[in-house]
């Protein structure tokens, strides 16, 4: 009897709907609270959730919790499979993305090749009328920025091929890093629906958005990858740095971003808190006018900094170690490469030494001596990049004065600076201090700056560098291209189109109850795998 019933009992045990995918109760040997809510304080709210509108540093934090892209990044900033399992060039004029199977959007819509084709239509503003979609003003106008992308096709339900009219080794990056939105949902609800009630494939579902106040998320239990180990998350807007710190100390928030550098050591001494940091893709520089007279509204004069020796002299006049130690409390990096140290294809370059004597000699060689000093009218956007940036700008001006440059500093609001840069109305002896960031992973995101005249290009590539740059844009073989990129970075370092100042290191502080939080060298935070101690 027992023997006959045994198979039935075994079958029942096996087929019984036991709760599957139960959350682990410990992480690193510590008991965790799988139902916890983590409150994260950010300095501002996002203005949009539709990724097409734009992805600045604040916005990325919100958008990338909900939406994912074909290419993901790991904690070192390296490209790893996201919604695409792999990507490869097919010949010289096409790229193929193999998509992940079994992924669904938060509303159940499947992610497949049709989704990617729809998103490509949206990026390049094709077929919008046919799809009944309202166009949005996008930060990146793909059809103008990447006109060589000609068409895209579905190879099968999980493979997409994108064709170009010229070799494009960075297509995996500029297409791959764009977040994917659902096709049916977007067509049904329009861009406004997508913006107000975003639906993505990401680890978090947005459940409530109180504008300028908070955004509430709930874990996506159907997420395909590593899930966050807590159930709820709230992004709380707290604009004032001191108020964020007070809220963390009071235990009313669990994690804060944008910790002022000089507050970090005190927070680190509190046993209930942890301070973590990561280099960011934010390179701060002086842009000086080296444009030839036919490239801007110059009154018929070349930019005063078109001589490479002058720009190199300015680079040698800057004491970066002092700036990083005294103004950023160590939370910044010197970086002589034009590319952020966390970008794909970055090649470390020999630091610009602090050498005022050599700087003076170079200026004299270029014809700027006592009777004919070099002048520089420097604009800087006050209260835009943070307090330390505002302190750094006058320090830099004093260093330039030490080598005989008659530098003046004029604070302006960021909008005025952007407008001046956009219109190209800097005086020949003009310049501005600004920080360059990027949403993409590849070094090209930085190296393209001096290719076409744009608001941050004040020293267009000379022909030989332009040829090398063009070669990096056409070389599809990854290894050969990395060599070209390294060569270009070395040459750009020596050509010195800008005065390199520092690369930012972003500081976070969190409760010691928050486990496994690792800041990304990206604009956004990642909570996959993060847990909250019981």
């Amino acid at each position: 009897m027992i023997r006959r019933a045994l198979p039935l009992v075994v079958a029942l045990v096996l087929l019984w709907p036991w709760p599957i995918a139960a959350q682990p109760r410990t992480v690193d040997g510590v008991a965790i609270d799988p139902d916890a809510e983590l409150v994260v304080a950010l300095s501002d709210d996002t203005t949009n959730m539709d990724p097409r509108i734009g992805m600045g540093s604040i916005r990325s934090n919100y958008i990338r919790q909900v939406f994912e892209s074909l290419v993901d990044v790991d904690s070192q900033g390296r490209p790893v499979p996201g919604l695409a399992l792999s990507w490869k060039p097919v010949g010289e004029l096409a790229w193929e993305f193999a998509l992940r199977r079994g992924v669904t959007f938060h509303d159940g819509e499947p992610f497949n090749a049709d989704t990617v084709l729809f998103n490509l239509d949206r990026f390049f503003r094709r077929n919008l009328d046919k799809l009944g979609l309202k166009d949005v003003l996008a930060a990146t106008q793909f059809e103008k920025t990447y006109p060589f992308v000609t068409r895209w096709e579905k190879v099968d339900d999980y493979t997409v091929r994108i064709h170009t009219s010229e070799p494009s080794p960075t297509l995996w990056d500029f297409i791959g890093r764009e977040p994917m939105v659902p096709k049916a949902y977007t067509i049904k609800n329009g861009a406004d629906g997508l913006n107000d009630r975003p639906v993505g494939t990401g680890p978090w579902k947005m459940v409530e958005w109180k504008r300028k106040t908070s955004m509430q998320f709930e874990r996506n239990d159907a997420y395909w990858g590593t899930q966050p180990q807590f159930r709820k998350m709230r992004f709380q807007t707290i604009p004032e740095g001191a108020a964020r710190i007070a809220a963390l100390r009071a235990g009313q928030v669990g994690l804060i971003e944008g910790v002022p550098p000089f507050d970090a050591p005190a927070l680190g001494q509190d046993s209930r808190l942890k301070v973590v940091s990561s280099p960011q893709k934010l390179s701060c520089r002086l842009y000086v006018n080296a444009r030839p007279k036919d490239k801007y509204d110059s009154g018929g004069q070349d930019g005063l900094f078109s001589d490479r020796r002058v720009r190199m002299a300015l680079n040698l006049a800057i004491n970066r170690d002092a700036i990083i130690k005294k103004i950023f409390n160590g939370y910044a990096l010197p970086n002589a490469s034009p590319v952020a140290s966390v970008s794909y294809g970055y090649a470390p370059q020999e630091a610009y030494p602090y050498d005022p004597t050599r700087a003076k000699a170079l200026l004299a060689e270029a014809g700027f001596r006592d009777g004919n000093p070099l002048t520089l009218q420097l604009l800087f956007p006050a209260k835009h990049y943070g307090q330390s940036f505002d302190e750094m700008a006058p320090a830099v001006v004093e260093m330039l004065k030490d080598v005989g440059v008659q530098a003046t500093l004029k604070p302006v609001d960021f909008a005025t600076l952007l407008q001046t840069a956009t219109k190209g109305t800097l005086p020949p002896n003009g310049g501005f201090a600004a920080c360059r960031t990027g949403n993409n992973l590849d070094a090209d995101d930085y190296l393209r700056d001096w290719g076409a005249i744009a608001m941050i290009n004040w020293a267009p590539y000379p022909p030989e560098l332009m040829s090398l740059y063009t070669a990096t844009r056409r070389e599809v073989d990854a290894q050969k291209r990395l060599k070209l990129l390294a060569d270009l970075q070395r040459q750009v370092r020596d050509w010195a189109p800008v005065v390199a100042l520092y690369q930012e290191v972003k500081v976070y502080a969190h409760s010691a109850r928050v486990l496994r939080f690792t800041p990304l060298p990206e604009l956004n935070m990642d909570f996959r795998g993060v847990a909250v101690k019981k």
């Binding site: 930060a139 007070a246 744009a454």
Partner: protein, 307 residues
Amino acid sequence: MRAFLLRRALHAVFVLWGVVTAVFFLVRLTGDPTPFLVDQTATQQEIAEARRQLGLDRPLSVQYLDFLRAVPRGDFGISIREKRPAMPMVLEHLWPATVELAAAALLLSTVLAIPLGVASATHKNGVVDHASRLASLFLQSMPSFWLGLMLILLFAVQLGGLLPAFGSGGLSHLILPAVTLAAAPLAQNVRLIRSGMLEVLQQDYVRTARAKGLAERLVIYRHALRNAAIPVITVTGLSLGFMLSGAVIIETVFSWPGMGRLIVQAVPGRDFPVIQAGVFVFAVIFVGLNLIVDLLYTVVDPRVRLT
């Protein structure tokens, strides 16, 4: 009274027209919002395309006439940054967050000011007077962001989270920002009531009232305070206007989702529609409050006639 109200209504229309016209042209003098909306590497062609999409490439006169036609419908356009209608954005910050905060601060600053001011005047140079004057000086001198942060440190951090450090959503959230916002107007009102009362208490009718044998409480609160209150009403009207429109520092320190921060953020971002809608709402608030203050004069002092 009817003629007065009609005339004031007409004035209000002209004032509002003047305000919206001035703000329309002034914000455009500050420059172009398009560089904010495009990538840092955008070319002139891309920026021109963005301007076209925003309608900023049209002649200014055309933009102005379109704007004037839309204003009576409450249509101030779509926020350039948030891509939502500007006026509902402003109104959702005005109500309830800004109104709630301003009302609480107004209540605190007037209800506390009356007994403190009266006590200070009636006990001139006494302990109460000195304490009240010192406290007023202290409250008026302190920058509101500093006071706010100190209150957060005390009540949210040192006292173990007795009150929330940030946000809105209940009485406990309201206390710290309302106290911070009320501090300066409270001090001002105390000083005004004190000086007004000191002056009024010397008047003949107060002496007469006392000679008639009226209780001191009635003399002070029914006869003296009513006359001493007129400047307080004027100042309170203005203070309320500022509380409704300019509590930006308090909103920033306490992460209060009010209207002030919305407008202040819109200015550097050159979000023209939001600035225009916000300034229009401020103007309506000030015009309305001035009218209410004028009407209140007639209630407090029957000798005042509105013609």
